[in-house]
């Protein structure tokens, strides 16, 4: 009986790992394929059966891809847009979340509900109206067209408001007695205490801003204003069938975001314990 159960346990354990390994292989394989394809020769790419790794890595593919289109320019554009939208999102999110969670002003609940209601509107609808606004402002083909509509997010505000609300009121009152202004309280107590949530919001925003495709495509025309995602698609049509170059360009596109994620992950995990509070 006992050994039967032991065997069952082992089988369950093995099964668990088989599923986990299968899951990770499924997730990682496209990336591996992308990287390996970017290092293949055109002949190796169409070879049947396909080889997982190229015989001689063609590092030159990267150089060719980099030179075939102004990727440096695209990269700079993407970085500018990502940094500006993320900085904007963090500022508006922290300020609004603080207002909604701690300050008392007339119509607070109504305004908060309106914020939440905007979450129900499909993104495509917003794109149409935002596009019209950008046209009216004559902002087409500029950085601000790519940045301004994205510097605040009702979802992030909602998320951070929830986090801020969990901070006990007594901390605020204690700070007040200690001669700490509302703004100082926000910067010195609320923000560091919710570092974890704020970093998560930053990462989510960096990723979505980096990967944004439709909006930059709509509001930019010239090559100088293109961001990486659009540039890659244009490159695909322009480069035609040079799949290895497209793959190399794709690697260039995703690499920074992976590096940023690995770097910030440390901060997310670090977290802040709230156990200094009881009751």
């Amino acid at each position: 009986m006992k050994s039967n159960r032991k065997i069952a346990n082992i089988i369950a354990e093995v099964l668990k790992y088989v599923i986990l390994i299968a899951g990770s292989v499924f997730t990682i394989l496209p990336f591996v394929w992308m990287i390996s394809s970017s290092l293949k020769t055109p002949a190796e790419l169409v070879q049947v059966p396909p080889a997982l790794f190229p015989e001689v890595p063609q590092w030159l593919n990267y150089k060719s891809a980099w030179e075939a289109a102004p990727f440096a320019r695209y990269l700079v554009n993407t970085i500018i847009v990502t940094i500006c939208t993320t900085a904007g999102v963090l500022v508006t999110t922290v300020l609004s979340a603080f207002a909604f969670s701690r300050l008392n002003f007339p119509g607070k609940k109504t305004v908060f509900s309106l914020f939440l209601a905007t979450l129900m509107i499909p993104g495509e609808m917003l794109i149409i109206t935002n596009y019209e606004t950008i046209i009216k402002l004559k902002w087409i083909d500029s950085y601000r067209a790519m940045i301004v509509p994205w510097i605040s997010s009702a979802f992030y505000i909602y998320l951070l408001t929830r986090f801020f609300m969990q901070v006990p009121e007594s901390l605020y009152l204690a700070a007040k007695v200690d001669k700490c202004s509302d703004f100082k309280y926000m910067i010195k107590i609320m923000v560091p205490m919710n570092k974890q949530a704020i970093f998560s919001i930053a990462i989510l925003n960096i990723i979505s801003s980096w990967n944004a495709f439709l909006w930059p495509l709509l509001v930019t025309n010239s090559q100088e204003m293109r961001v990486l995602s659009n540039g890659l698609v244009r490159f695909q049509t322009e480069a035609g069938s040079s799949t290895e170059l497209i793959m190399a360009a794709s690697c260039i596109l995703v690499m920074p975001i992976i590096i940023i994620y690995l770097f910030l992950r440390k901060y997310i995990i670090e977290g802040v314990t709230r156990s200094g509070l009881k009751g």
């Binding site: 009152l173 204690a174 700070a175 007695v177 200690d178 001669k179 570092k195 156990s275 509070l277 009881k278």
Partner: protein
């Protein structure tokens, strides 16, 4: 710093959380605000701190009317029930926080923080985070943070309610010691009558926003102003009985409790504390229906006529359920109240 509260009132909607309260506290006194939850004791404390604005009335610190002065300028130190320590800061940063906000240089703030940390005995934990400290240590950090700016008044909101029983007794002695050492006028809120009696110079008992009695603990225990105070103080609780007086003889359901009392004939409410009884063969014979061993004492559940009565006797007494015990009441230990439940006197 003397404190004077005049006609202090706080109204929430139709509810008077604090109702025309008058109180004066002498410099250096430790005063306990005592009462059941919802009696307005915390509201009073928060009005003293300035975090709550009174609907009516005045608060004076010394001769100065502080009613409209914001909390940060009142020269108060406030300790919260949950300590409200900033969890992302070290103990030292927590303690220096009020000083640095007031524009003090970091080096000097650190020195002052260390001085006060020595008083509350946490100087060896300065570099730790609050989460790495025990409840009692966190409490001391909170007191140090409140005291570091050298306030005139220290306010403590239920300072002991988050601690376990043993630590609570030790910490309340600590609070008393620190208060004496710093010589600061201190007001603390509690719902624990034993806590209030053991360390306070004076106790203010509140009920439904109204101050019931403000007295030195011993006097209050012996002469409670009314039945509420009599019932609130003391563990096990006082026995509430009905008595009849005729020609100076006090009796309850036919059991004579006292002769020669100078009290007008009539029917009264009375209170007798469980420890006010003593064993007396000639006294009223009560049948024991239940026994609780509490350590130093035995608590006997009996009936005086039709009323349940608890009697405390020494724990080495040999007695069983169903036994009869003759008891009398010690002199001046029958508290007699009038029909408005106000104390007439002790008989």
């Amino acid at each position: 710093m003397d404190i004077r509260i005049e006609n202090l009132t706080k109204t929430y909607g139709n509810l008077n959380a604090v109702d025309h309260m008058n109180l004066s506290i002498n410099d250096g006194e430790l005063v306990g605000l005592l009462g059941p939850s919802g009696c307005g004791k915390s509201t009073t404390l928060f009005m003293l701190s300035g975090l709550t604005t009174p609907t009516e009335g005045k608060i004076y610190f010394g001769d100065k009317d502080v009613t409209s002065i914001p909390p940060e300028d009142r020269e108060i130190g406030l300790v919260f029930q949950n300590y409200a320590l900033y969890p992302h800061m070290t103990v030292e940063d927590n303690i220096t926080f009020p000083l640095i906000n007031r524009g003090m240089k970091k080096a000097q703030a650190r020195e002052e923080a260390f001085e006060i940390a020595k008083v509350v005995k946490i100087e060896q934990y300065m570099k730790r985070r609050p989460s790495e400290l025990s409840g009692g240590q966190q409490q001391r950090v909170a007191i140090a943070r409140a005291l570091v700016k050298k306030p005139q008044v220290l306010l403590l909101d239920e300072p002991l309610s988050n601690l376990d029983a043993k630590l609570r007794v030790a910490t309340r002695e600590e609070i008393r010691r620190i208060q004496q050492e710093v010589k600061i006028t201190t007001i603390f809120v509690t719902h624990d009558q034993e806590e209030a009696m053991s360390i306070s110079d004076r106790i203010a008992v509140m009920k439904e926003g109204v101050l019931q009695q403000y007295e030195v603990p011993q006097t209050m225990y012996l002469n409670p102003a009314n039945t509420f105070v009599a019932n609130f103080l003391g563990m096990p609780e006082i026995n509430n009985i009905e008595i009849d007086v005729k020609g100076g003889v006090i009796s309850a359901d036919g059991n004579i409790l006292r002769k020669g009392a100078s009290l007008a004939d009539g029917h009264y409410k009375a209170g007798i504390r469980p420890e006010s009884f003593y064993v007396d063969e000639n006294g009223a014979a009560l049948e024991v229906s239940n026994i609780r061993m509490t350590g130093r004492d035995l608590l006997l559940f009996t009936k005086l006529g039709s009323t349940d009565v608890r009697v405390l006797v020494h724990s080495y007494m040999q007695i069983g359920v169903g036994d009869k015990l003759g008891v009398s009441v010690r002199d001046e230990h029958i508290l007699v109240f009038d029909d408005k439940e106000v104390l007439i006197g002790r008989f």
